[in-house]
Amino acid sequence: MYAAEVEGERLNFVVSGMLWRRSLVMKDEETGTLWSHLLGKGMRGEHEGVLLEVLPSSLTDWKTWKAQHPETTVLAMSRTAREFVTEMQKAPGRFVLGVREGGVVKAYPYDVLKEKVVVSDWVGGKAIVVTYEAAAATARVFSAEVAWGVLTFEDAGGGLIKDTGTGSLWDLATGECRSGELKGKRLKESVGIPSFGKAWEVFYPEGEEYGGDDKKPKYPKNDE
């Protein structure tokens, strides 16, 4: 999900018909610049080297999104798929949540997140917390930095996580503190990029992987 404006000009993107590193190449109608879909970066043309601003977005099921955002509007074009349920739920091992902070790239495999529910970590000098909502097969990343320091979390069950400093309980989907000393505070959501693990690895071969051993991560080969 990108902000589609560069130097005050609105860009409209099309599918170029090209691929690079097994991922879509976008083209903007205004300048013809070619953009990497996954990097959000101008690769060739007038805007070469420009990075599009990434907007935080979630890939989740409709029921969950609707409950969290009752006022939401919905795209209502014709279907291109008769049904699209959460692939991530069926085969979490194929997906990672990609995080880029302070020049460091780190991938959090869905199957590890599913098991742990919440992971407190540091990436590129930033304290983050990655959460996994099992019912919706949705992974999210929040900043764990608050005005007075850094919070670390543990799973408290029932969609809640507990910060070990104050024992307050937080909603792992919205980042809102539900009870305890910090009630009413909210964690700031950061950009996490749900991706096929294999595609992520191609783009960020030097990237770190959470929970990974020293050996290279293995992904099933059947997503082609």
Binding site: S23, M26, T86
Partner: protein, 101 residues
């Protein structure tokens, strides 16, 4: 990350039609898989989430959700499969956005 459709089009894979530009990233070597770009999607219907029926999206189906400037919008993935629908050029909360996954 969406790559599945290209394999159906593997018969037309070849590299050409891209003019050379100096000073570009030497690692950027795109392959042309479909010779003509698809038209940009700029116009489409939207519905209020509270009124949406199963024809558009069912509870367990996947959506790409975004909030900008206090406005929330969901893009059901069931409408975004295939190369013609990869990118929705939209405006939300006063900001131009490209919804893509």
């Amino acid at each position: 990350m969406r790559t599945n459709w290209i394999f159906a089009a593997v018969g037309v894979v070849f590299c050409s039609g891209v003019s050379d530009v100096v000073a570009e990233d030497p690692n950027f070597k795109p392959r042309v898989v479909i010779k003509k770009a698809f038209p940009a999607i700029k116009e489409f219907d939207l519905q209020a989430g509270a009124k949406v029926g199963e024809k558009v999206v069912r509870d367990q189906e996947l959506v790409l959700g975004v909030v900008v400037g206090g406005e929330a919008r969901a893009y059901p993935i069931n409408q975004l499969t295939g190369p013609r629908r990869e990118i929705i050029n939209d405006r939300l909360g006063g900001v131009a956005i490209a919804a893509t996954w």
